[in-house]
Each structure stands twice: as C-alpha cells, then as structure tokens.
Assembly symmetry: C2
Homo-oligomer: 486 residues x 2
C-alpha cells in the first residue's frame, strides 16, 4: 500500500513535471512570437530597463541626490515607470501631463494653505478637507469628457493626487515650498530620462505607426477584394492566384481598428516633426480615411457571406453578372492597393483612378446590360446570389471612390510628392505584387526603393496596367467596354 | 488716435468678455449633458471626493499616522487616487494588483539586497542595477501579452516601480523591512478606503453594466431592423410607426462596442456575487453574444445603404419581394427585442422563437415563390435593389437565429428563470412597445414589472402575437403561409 502510494506520488510528480515543462515551452514560444511580430517590443522593454539604470546610476554616483533624500528619489523612479510609454508621442504626452499637473496642483495647494492658515486648528483642516473634496470631485467629473479623457486623463489624476497630498500633509510655510520644489525637480529628472531615451534610442513614432496602419488597412481591404474576385472566379473554373486565408480575411482586422487609430492620432499630436512628417502634419485626416475604410470593411464582411453560397448551374445571365463582379472586385482591390502604396511612399495617388474608372464603368455596363433586357424567361432564384454580390460590389466601388477622395485630400493637405512618370506601370505592379503575400506592408523594403519610379497618372498606355491574371476576364472587360451604351 | 485705440481696446475687451461667457455657458451645458446621460458619473465623482476626505480625516485625527510620517502618508492618498475606478470590479482589480505587486516586489527586492550585501561597495550597486534592468525589461515585455495587459497591467507597473525603488534606495537591513511594512500598510489603508466606498455607496457593478449593455445592443439592433421594415414599407405608401432617426441608427453604436464589452467582462470577473448575478456567472458568454450581435450589425449597416436607394415603379415581383423583406426585417427585429427583454429580465427567451420561425418561413416562401417562376419577362434592374435587400435580410435572419442560440446557451448556463405562461402575449407586447420609443432599455422600469407575467413559449394562440401594425402586411404573411410548398 505504502509502495503503491509512493509510486503513484512519483508518477504524479513526473506528470506534473512534464506538464510544467510543456507550459514553460508554450510560454517561451508565445514570447518569441510576440517579439517576432514586432521586434520593437523587445527594444522598448530594454529601453525601459536602460532608463531605470540611468536614474539608478545617477542615484548612486551623483551628489545631486544627497540634497533630496531617499523618500524623494522614489519620485524619479516612479516617474520613469509611469511616464515611459511605447511611442515617443505617448511618452511626451504623459510627461507633459505629469509636469504641468504637478506645477498647477502644487501652486494651487500652496495658495489654499495660504488662504486657510489663519482659520485656527479646527477651521484649517476642515476648510482644506472641503477644498480637497471639491477639487477631487470636479476633476474626477471632468475626466468623463471624451476630449479630456483622450489627452489629459493622466494629468487630471496627477493633479488630484498632488493637490490632495500637499493639502492633507499638514506641512507649513517653507517646508511646503521645499517639498513642491523637490517634487518638481524629481519629476523633471525622471521625465527627462524618459524623453531622452525614448527619442534617442530607436524611437517609435506614433505618427509613423498611424501612417503605416492606415496604409496597411487599405492594403488589406484591397487584398481581400482582389482575393474575393479571384475566389469567386475560381468557383466558375478559373484559376485563383491568392488562396491564403489569412490574406483573404485581412479585412476582419479593419473592422475593429477604431480605438487604435484614435489613440495613435492622439499620441501623434504630441510628437515633434520627425522623418517625413513635418510640423502640423494632418493626423486628423488619417482618422477620416480610417472611418471610410471601416465602412468599406463592413461591406466586404457582408460580401464574404456569399463566397461559399450555393452556386446554381451557370446560365448566360449569371455568367455576365459574375464576370462583372470579378472585374468590380479585382479593380477596386487594385485601386485600394495603389492607394495604400501611395500613402506608404507619400506620392499623389493618381494611378488608382484608372482602376476606379474601370470598376465604375463595369458597374455601369452591368446596369445597362440588365436594363436592355436579357430576352429570356429567367429564374430569379438562380441569379439571386449573383445579383446581391453585384449590388454590394457596386456599393463597394462607391466606398472605394470615397476612400480615394479622402486620400486625395490627405495627399494635397500633407503635400505628398507628385508621381514621376519615368517608369512603366508594370514595374510598379511587379514591385507591389511582392507585397501581396506579405501580411505587413511595413516589411516590404523594396516598395520604398520604388519611390522615385512611381506610375504615371492615367497615361495613354493605361490599358497595359489592366489585369493580366486571367485572359478570360480581360476579354470580358473589353466586351463590356464595347457595349457601353449609356 | 489714442481715444480710438482706447475705444477699440474696450470693444475688444467687451467682445472677449461675451466670447468667454459663451464658452462658459457651453461648458456648463455639456457638463450638464454629461451628468444627465449617466447620473452615476456625478455620484462617482462625489465618491472619489468622499474617499479622499475619509483618509484625510484619518490623517488629521488618528494616532496611526504618527507612526508613519509625512512621506509615507502620501502613499495612502496616491493609492486612493490611482485605485478608485468607476466600477467595483475595476477598483477591486486595481486594488488587488497594487497589493499583490507591492508584496511580491517588496519580497523580491529584500531578497536581492540579501544576496548582494556581501559584494562590496562597487559590486553591490552594479549587481543590483543589473537586476533592476533585467526585471524592468522582462516585466515590460510581459505587459505586451494580451491576457496580462487586460487584467494585470497595473500590477506589472507597480511591481517594476516597487522593486526598482527598494533596490535603488541603498537602504540596509531593518530599515528596508520597516519601509516595506509601512508601504504595505499605507497601500492597504488606501485600498480599503476605495473598496469600502466603492461597494457601500451606490455601487456601480461592471457585470451589471455588461449585462445591460448586451441587452441594450440587441434591443438597438431589433429597433433598427423593425424600423427598417417600417421605413422600407413606408416608401411603398404604408404608414411608418418609427421615424426617429436616433432609434433607426441605433445599430451604429453596436459596430464599435467590442472594446467596452471586453473591458467590462474583465472587470466583472473581479466582482463578488451581486444582485441577480451569482458567483461564477458566465461573463464570457456575454462576449459571444456581443460578437454575434456585431456581425448582425455589419449586415444592417449594409442594409441601410439601400434604404434610400432609387425605388423603381412597382411591379408584381418587386411587391412580393418587398413584402417578404418587410416581414423578415420586422419579425427579426421583434425576435431581437424579445431576446433583449429576456436578457434584461433574465428569463428563458422562448417567446422569440415564434418570430424567428415567421422570419425563416417568410424567407423560405420567398425562395419557393421565386423558384416556381414569375411567368413574365421581368426587368432585372427594377428588382435588383429588392433582391439585394431580400438576400441580405435572409443573412440577417440567419444572424438572428445564431444570436438566439447563443442567448439560449447563456440562459441555460446562467440558469435564467423559465417564462411563466400566465399572461397572453399581447400584454407583454404592450409592455414592450413602450420601450421602442425609449433609447435605453435601462430606463424602462415598467418592463421589470412584467417579469412574472412573461409570455408562453410558442403557444397555440401564437398567431395573435403576429404584427398588427399593418393589416396589408399581415394578409401577405398569410398568403405566404398558405403558399408554403416546400
């Protein structure tokens, strides 16, 4: 019995050991994945360590600290930990909030002490308590304002904290001044360490991230649309060139990107000019593009519901509808990808217009064709999925046009370069096509190399940029062009 | 010249005064609006003030503080300001994070001091510095894990801060123990003040809010769908009963509710049993319902693109399609509203099934009707909008069914009461109808009164709960039922 129990214990111990090992391996794997997804995460972690080391070194070897004493130096460490954020903009925003709030609250608290110092041993704490109650309540309420919440939430917290502490502390006269001065110094030292490390060591700019996120989202929509066209075509016997599910469903991450875009735009507003982004770069316009991209993503979500819908046996009508759908989705997709590239390399997005025109004329032709009558007693049920897809795609084309307009506005406000007509569109396309397989436009250094070789705006040789993946599709497109009657 | 300048100055001063007044009035108005939207914001602000007053009073009148000294008492104030959140769950979460992180970091830092104390005057700070660097880097990296970010982000910050401070401080032996003990005491007092005020004074439960938010979102979808049916019908000469744009477009707020739902579910997990929510209430299932509701909202967004689409002159086919659309959207809308009510009053949502069945059979009938052929040479363009709307609505009916399934799962897991068949469905409907005009289900106290009088699950008298707003629609519905051939 004892032996059995002992052996069971050993087996249990062994099993637990194996489980623990599996958990550790899992954890190591997901840490590696987290770092590989965005190596800047690793850099950021090391930067926080570095900033702390810097203030520690200052603490251990600098005479400055002897003036402050242990209890004050914690504020330097605390400031570093609470202010150091992932991007420069977020760090500057928090540092600014902390500095200004400390200054304001300190000043007001000293004023409050001055006002109440003659009220006696009972009166003074009562009135001070009332003031603390009032400012805490009012400041807390102000934090509910969306605008204050977005940019000054941390400052409000520090304001309440500093005012309350100085008021409650019961300190008098010059001791308060000394305390307030020391607090300001420590906060400044900590804040400066954060800002310096954040900007000087491999800086992460929120503005740059917002710029890339918007370009990436538009590119994902483009890939999903182009992929939809190819997949839809494949069901009719054609050959699909994109079948990676991850790329097809890229639009899904656009559906819920509102919060990230808004916070990046908020942080970007704190940042100084950097890289290709000058002072007063129109960050708000990125949000406009983002909103329109989301509206397009909602349509694509509706569209993807029909990707695997029952296909009825083909008829002449459903063939025509499906071909038109393919053109609309592929051309909208190409237009969106050109727009994404234009944002990425900061040139005027003129090359997208020809694709939009093609998508629009395909929509128009489809309408005309249907209007002129098919001349046979058709079965509505057989074309219902096709008609719906066509109808949503017409909507998508409109969305694409709106996105293009908003990007044109962004490009002219932000003074993007004009595209130089030095290269044939094929080259640009070949450069871009490599991007299709990559989940992140950020990882396409070759795109940047193409900057000075961008495409001419709707040149006479425009037709050479038309889709070549499928000859059948191309022929149909010409058929549609020839049939344009309206 | 001098006079003119002076008069201009006066005018300028006056204009500025008027502007300042306008700004003040604007601000007061938006503060009032903010408070009226959710009066709990005002209560929360006063609660924060109250908690601060409590710890101040303790500070001024309790001998406890004499043991701590000024520099330690700031930690009580700081804990109150940083831990006190809007909901009980968030407050408990932050308090727990702060307490555990302080304890852990304090213990580890003391251990680190113990290990390094024999390394000499140069060796000790160097090794301690290395340890600070390592723990700060690793902890910062761990904060990027989504799960840790969601529940333990604040704890990680406090951990880095406390460990770094104690390691860097250069304090020795019993001084460190005293410091760590004092820190733990102050954090406990501050945390206790927060938790007590948060729970005892008009508590805001995140779980309750999540429950209401999900019910409200489902209700908004229902209103939008029902409104769509009515609006769509109105364009054909019928009379619409909902034309408040705010209610029609309620679905829009569902599109971006993911983040709020997730954070509420996170906070709810920290909360003790409260009100109607027992221990281990299945908060995760609410997120599932929320995700399905968002998918439905994407479809409704696509649908609303066709609300103002050009209506072609009516034909027999488009009439049939539009009538079927009206039934599908109105019945799905009614089903969603019944489901919302079932969540709200926590009963089994059986009464919604009959509406879903009607919507489904309408979809089926439409398909059969189209399949049996219309027998005339129809103009596809004239029915394209109708066919698209019908097709999206068939998708919406599927979504509604999925939502109903997930709510059934929620109801059985959370052991909602069964509906008691003591009242005819009309009464419930009349009670519910009052809700339609109200933008928030939360503000419908009369609904709660109906709890024990809820509707029987698909009783034989089911047809009496059919839509009565429009006789014409009803007749068509019966026509469809009679024609059911599949």
């Amino acid at each position: 019995m004892v032996v059995a129990s002992g052996s069971r214990d050993k087996t249990g111990f062994f099993t637990q050991g194996v489980k623990l090992k599996a958990t550790m391996v899992d954890m190591a794997r997901s840490m590696r994945k987290l770092g590989q997804e965005d190596p800047r995460r690793v850099v950021h972690s090391l930067k926080v360590g570095l900033a702390l080391i810097l203030v520690s070194a200052l603490y251990n070897y600098h005479p400055l600290y002897s003036n402050f004493g242990t209890n004050n130096t914690i504020w330097i460490v605390m400031t570093v930990v609470l202010v150091f954020e992932f991007s420069v903009g977020a760090t500057l925003g928090r540092g600014f909030n902390r500095g200004i709030a400390t200054l304001l609250a300190g000043g007001l608290a000293i004023g409050a002490h001055h006002l109440t110092k003659n009220l006696g041993r009972v009166g003074e704490p009562v009135v001070l308590g009332l003031l603390v109650f009032l400012q805490a309540s009012i400041s807390t309420f102000l934090r509910f304002f969306p605008k204050i919440k977005a940019s000054y939430d941390y400052g409000m917290l520090i304001f309440i904290m500093t005012f309350s502490f100085i008021s409650v502390s019961g300190l008098q006269g010059h001791v308060i001044f000394k305390l307030a001065w020391e607090r300001l110094c420590t906060v400044s030292i900590g804040g400066a360490a954060c800002v310096i490390v954040s900007i000087l060591v491999l800086p992460v700019w929120a503005g740059h991230d917002l710029h890339n996120l918007i370009a990436l989202n538009i590119e994902k929509l483009g890939n999903s649309l182009e992929g939809f066209g190819d997949e839809y075509f494949k069901t009719k016997g054609g050959e699909a060139c994109i079948d990676d599910k991850e790329i097809l469903e890229g639009y899904k991450s656009v559906l819920n990107s509102k919060k990230s875009e808004e916070s990046l735009a908020n942080f970007a507003a704190w940042e100084p000019p950097h890289g290709r982004f000058p002072f007063r770069h129109p960050w708000k316009l990125y949000l406009k593009v983002g909103t329109l991209a989301r509206e397009c993503a909602y349509r694509i979500e509706a569209l993807y519901g029909y990707l695997n819908a029952d296909m009825q046996e083909s008829s002449e009508v459903s063939n025509i509808i499906q071909e038109a759908c393919t053109i609309m989705s592929v051309e909208s997709g190409k237009a969106l990808k050109e727009l994404a590239l234009a944002i990425k390399i900061m040139v005027q997005p003129s090359s997208a217009d020809s694709h939009i025109d093609k998508a629009k004329s395909s929509a128009k032709n489809l309408k005309s064709l249907l209007k002129s009558g098919i001349g046979e007693d058709i079965d509505l049920l057989k074309v219902i999925a096709g008609v719906t897809v066509a109808s949503i795609l017409i909507d998508v084309v409109t969305c694409t046009e709106k996105i293009a307009e908003s990007i044109h506005e962004l490009a002219s406000t932000a003074q993007f370069k004009s595209a130089e007509p030095t290269l044939s569109p094929e080259k640009l396309h070949s450069g871009q096509m490599k991007c299709v397989k990559s989940p992140q436009i950020l990882n396409c250094p070759h795109v940047v190399i193409n900057v000075s070789e961008s495409t001419p705006p709707s040149s006479p040789s425009e037709s050479s940029s038309a889709p070549k993946a499928s000859k059948q599709r191309m022929d149909l497109y010409h058929l549609f062009l020839a049939q344009d009657i309206s």
